[in-house]
């Protein structure tokens, strides 16, 4: 199904460069958090290269730091990455009929917010080579950024490490707030999330749960209530 393999690869690499630069910066702050959890640079590199999920990795490293039960990591990854399921479903529509299962599986594994975005934006059916090229380049930078953050995290002075570890939260805010301006139901969901998350961190019983457990339960409950009260209209997907 790859008609003109070389040009697809080149196009994918070119569109992958700005994504790779952004990934390098985000992964660096992720690496600082991974270092706190006790990961070594090679562990951070491999984990980031094969996972490629900012929220999911952040959740995982927090659980590693807390020495949480393995089942909590599974639950955390399921919830934090649930949007990828929707994206893969949408991407499956962009793969030419007759494409082999191996290509379908590999293309699905490439899905991140950004790679999904550029794959969906490709006119017509998306050639696998185009997605692979962009995903491979950006994943390498993502993994290098994480490893770099782990190394720098142990070299930099403590106040700087604390300040840098705030950048990931800043990026989370930059992802969730702009859509809240145009969709007030998202805004209500965010306000409810902040309030309930704050309450659950101090409330009796619930505050005794691990933060991973609270994240999973709060996400499912708040999203389900929001979906029940304010279902989305016919079009539009969950790509953040």
């Amino acid at each position: 199904m790859v008609r003109n393999g070389t040009s697809d690869v080149l196009l994918g690499l070119r569109i992958g460069i700005p994504i790779a630069m952004g990934y390098l910066a985000v992964a660096f702050s992720l690496g600082i958090i991974a270092a706190k959890a006790g990961l070594t640079a090679p562990e951070g590199f491999l984990s980031s290269f094969f996972t490629r999920a900012s929220a999911g990795e952040y959740g995982t490293y927090m659980l590693v730091a807390a020495q949480a039960a393995y089942v909590e990591v599974v639950a955390m990854c399921l919830v934090a990455n649930l949007r990828y399921m929707l994206m893969s479903a949408a991407l499956s529509q962009k793969i030419a009929p007759g494409t082999s299962w191996l290509h379908r599986i590999l293309m699905a594994c490439c899905v991140t917010d950004e790679i999904f975005g550029i794959s969906i934006a490709h006119p017509g059916y998306t050639p696998p080579a185009y997605t692979y090229a962009a995903a491979l380049l950006s994943s390498l930078f993502w993994a290098m950024g994480c490893a770099g953050g782990i190394i720098a995290g142990s070299l930099l002075p403590q106040p700087m490490v604390t300040a840098l570890s705030m950048s990931l939260y800043g990026m989370f805010l930059a992802i969730i707030l702009p859509p809240a301006r145009s969709d007030r139901h998202v805004l209500y969901a965010l306000v409810a999330s902040f309030v309930l998350s704050g309450l659950c961190a101090v409330a009796p019983v619930v505050s005794g749960w691990s933060s991973g457990m609270r994240t999973v339960v709060l996400t499912i409950v708040i999203s389900a209530v929001a979906a029940w009260l304010k279902p989305v209209r016919t079009e539009g997907d969950g790509a953040a």
């Binding site: 929220a55 995982t60 990854c77 479903a89 939260y169 969730i176 933060s211 709060l218």
Partner: protein, 99 residues
């Protein structure tokens, strides 16, 4: 209690995250029709990131106040669509100046 292995945590995250990505290729033919499921999946990314941001962001700094101010600065910057990188830099700088 015995120490959990970092490698096993990492492998679980890799396997689960990629299974989530691959599963729809096998099971979903066409668009998801169920309105509740679509709506649920629409809200999940926003809610999960919000829950992870607060109160964790405020608890990262040695005392809560710098974290609160960095959070407010980040919220304002993000609200005015300054972009991922500028918002992140603002949160870092505010925190660094206050701790």
């Amino acid at each position: 209690m015995e120490q959990h292995s970092v490698i096993i945590y990492i492998l679980l995250a890799i396997v689960v995250t990629n299974l989530i990505r691959v599963t729809p290729m096998f099971f979903i033919k066409g668009q998801i029709k169920n309105r509740f499921v679509r709506s649920f999946l629409y809200y999940v990314p926003y809610v999960t990131l919000a829950v992870m941001t607060f109160p964790d962001m405020v608890m990262t700094t040695p005392t809560p106040l710098p974290g609160v101010i960095a959070l407010l600065a980040g919220v304002v910057a993000a609200w005015f669509r300054l972009g991922l990188f500028p918002v992140a830099v603002i949160c870092c700088i505010v925190t660094y100046l206050l701790i």
